[in-house]
Symmetry: C2
Subunit: 528 residues, 2 copies
Amino acid sequence: MKLKLLYACIVFTGLTASALAQDAVDAAATAKIREEGLNHSKVMDIAFNLTDVSGPRLAGSPGLKRAQDWAVAQLKEWGMANAKLEPWGKFGKGWEVQKNYAAITVPYYHAIIAVPKAWTPGTNGPIKGEVVLVKADSVAELDKYKGTLAGKIIIFDTKPLTERTFKSDAARYTDEELDKMAQATMAPRGQRNNAFDPNSPAMVARRKAIGMRTAITAFLLNEKAGLILSQARGTDGTLFTTNGASYADTAKAVAPELETSSEDFQRILRLVKAGKKVELEADIKTEFFTNDLQGYNVVGEIPGTDKKLKEQVIMIGGHLDSWHAATGATDNAAGSAVMLEAMRILKTIGFKPKRTIRIALWSSEEQGLFGSRGYVLNHFGDPKTMELKPEAAKLDAYYNLDNGTGKIRGIYLQGDSAAGPLFKTWLEPFKDLGATTVTISNTGGTDHQSFDAVGIPGFQFIQDAIDYGSRTHHSNQDTYDRLIEDDLKQAATIVASFVYNTSERKDMVPRKPLPTPPTPPAGAPARN
Amino acid sequence: MKLKLLYACIVFTGLTASALAQDAVDAAATAKIREEGLNHSKVMDIAFNLTDVSGPRLAGSPGLKRAQDWAVAQLKEWGMANAKLEPWGKFGKGWEVQKNYAAITVPYYHAIIAVPKAWTPGTNGPIKGEVVLVKADSVAELDKYKGTLAGKIIIFDTKPLTERTFKSDAARYTDEELDKMAQATMAPRGQRNNAFDPNSPAMVARRKAIGMRTAITAFLLNEKAGLILSQARGTDGTLFTTNGASYADTAKAVAPELETSSEDFQRILRLVKAGKKVELEADIKTEFFTNDLQGYNVVGEIPGTDKKLKEQVIMIGGHLDSWHAATGATDNAAGSAVMLEAMRILKTIGFKPKRTIRIALWSSEEQGLFGSRGYVLNHFGDPKTMELKPEAAKLDAYYNLDNGTGKIRGIYLQGDSAAGPLFKTWLEPFKDLGATTVTISNTGGTDHQSFDAVGIPGFQFIQDAIDYGSRTHHSNQDTYDRLIEDDLKQAATIVASFVYNTSERKDMVPRKPLPTPPTPPAGAPARN
């Protein structure tokens, strides 16, 4: 079915010559946008407020609230309409770290680099204990530890991660890579979804590992273990964080758990495996927030001015929430700052758009695109049933930014081949800034998918990766320092220009045929 | 004078054809050494004991003492003769970190990555205070802060270090780079010593900066500042450490000072410069050790067996001391482990050397090659006067290893061109392991210089840098994880083979003419 669609689209694009006339770029407007975006940028100041000033922005946390409140106030200060926090549904508990200290004390003193796993409890004051290596491949094997782990520091046998790679942490796309993306074709659905075979050996092993881990967690809690150390991904002082428990208000209790830098983890593990006594002291305090379990998105608008078209809406956005070990600069203060700056640029040049332009800064993206999914469900329709609301027909397009600090190199069509010629034309004035590539491919893992799921054109820009995968994405090193000013200026300028062009076009951005509601194979876990 | 020497050496090497006969490599012995070194290595176990088990090995610290005691015991266990700690002279105070905790508490909580500067005091229990940016280009400007800094956390305006480089952290020498080294010629002395012009703008600026820093330090101590934050070199959680005060038992008191990861430092600085209130809490405890101000080296021997030649000695060594933020794996547990392993290999294959083989693991290298300089002064002579002792004539050669975990790619002749053909022959059997290059060049910064200074052939091997400069050299990330097992095995095998060849040769390694005592230019600081 997907293949048929692809051919249909190619035939269709062959017929769009007349449509192209309406897509000629307005040179004077582009020049204004470039001047404001490249030479009078506020993007770094915005990013500073979202990162350094607000702090970590885990879903539901006080840090996210600070950033959301700042963004709403800033949108209002710029004169945007309808700037507010809009609830999208129930999320769960907020959580933040309020004390984080751990150190080896025997055989010698060494403060370790480690971060509490999100939504785990603290140690209830300072603790001190011996490290015990727990090895169990089955629940029965845990029995041997019964009655021996109270107050102890628990470590598991885990492979080291610290081999040197001789590859640079940071990179930009090469011309060759971009060419390959431009020439990509969509794989048929069957081929793309192999990973979800619930009976594949990988999925079976994964379910077994999750089951075992759940059993161990319950056992350690019951045994009153003092603290669990688990090895974080990352090297050289960089550590990537995850959650160690559910944010749900009904979540089961777990033991305190520290995601530990691989070097510190392996040092402790090597010593314990060699029969050396290792002791740790720790003082971890985390706080849960349950007074408001709702999730919120930031929204704000530049209202449309064309009598007929102002009911139609163009949306731009990115998620504002982050992980907790740093200030989520590249994931995704960068995208949020660029989108805010794009709004500021359009307002500052005095643009009176035909259609309404709306920004949304999502929350709980990191837990499953919840903010954007909730918003889409409330405004546009349910992807499970494909029952759409009237607003769905009026949302022209959604543009998303969430792939780090790297500049825009082009755009993913997400299979919407009819939009290709349009976007190629719109990228023309930004060739000198390195943005040229239009690819038919999908890219996943972020909020444009929520729109795509109900048939609304939703796009993510192609961005240079820089050190997103190696250093910043969910890590303790995702800080303001990682932001590249020139790249963010370029991105905001291009987004503003895309929004301008979308707003002024006679027709809406062409759509793919509506998706049919997914019918998962029997026995497969539901995809949501 | 140096130029003349170079030509003389070239002529001399032209005449060494007859000497080459004695340097033919013993294939059977090489095979035994390779078998033991490459297939039955203990080098990683040795390194584990020097790093993970002993801990940080700052000069004079309990960690260094643990490593020294372990090395002496290990040498004895292997059956080495005269294994002991040998004092080399007065060093100063020992020092270690016993508690290291610091966190931002306002505007939100964030534990920072930071390490006390070596030989600085602690905070005398937990402290909490506001961060104050101190800006002063002259002592007079400090006056404005009088009476305002008690208990405060001090920060200085410092440029960020955190730009992305797009270069890999780790690298090995390319064939091209090795060729260039092989073709190098010695620069005449005048050209090489320009950096020491005491009136150069760089030196004048340096003296001014040091003077200003000393004045600020005294001022802050007098004002009872709570803690100084200074920006460490390094990014992504890697931070490079230094000392913040002298190790001398007569050293002036200073305020507590934390070398802070550039990301944490810059976050605090950006907030303070933007007028935001920042508070920190910290609890730093450091301990000084003054019961023994002596410095010690580890020594041990395989005694020579040739009636005439056993009075002659070949030495190998590396420094065992490290900086304090990690376990000094590449600087220089690696070199120490390789040298210990080379001794073990030679002992294990049952080698009865003609000449005596002696290992020395130096201390206080990081403060100025003190361990090796003291040893040279006690045994061989004074480089200041060039008055030599009888032992100097009997020390055949000294081989050093101290450039990280990288395998051996060749050897620096340190200007001793007559040794070139010899070493080329000795490297022949290790072509397959990547060791081929003999360069006339000097390399500095480590203990072979102490021998070279009194005219004893002292050599450092060429080693692949890996991530020595970017990640490990003096950093908090110089841990066991950074060691590359295959490289250390290769190095130990080659060192053992060089020692074998040196021991069995009819003649000693040819020497450069004795250096003349240095006569520094008038007004220049003494070089020692």
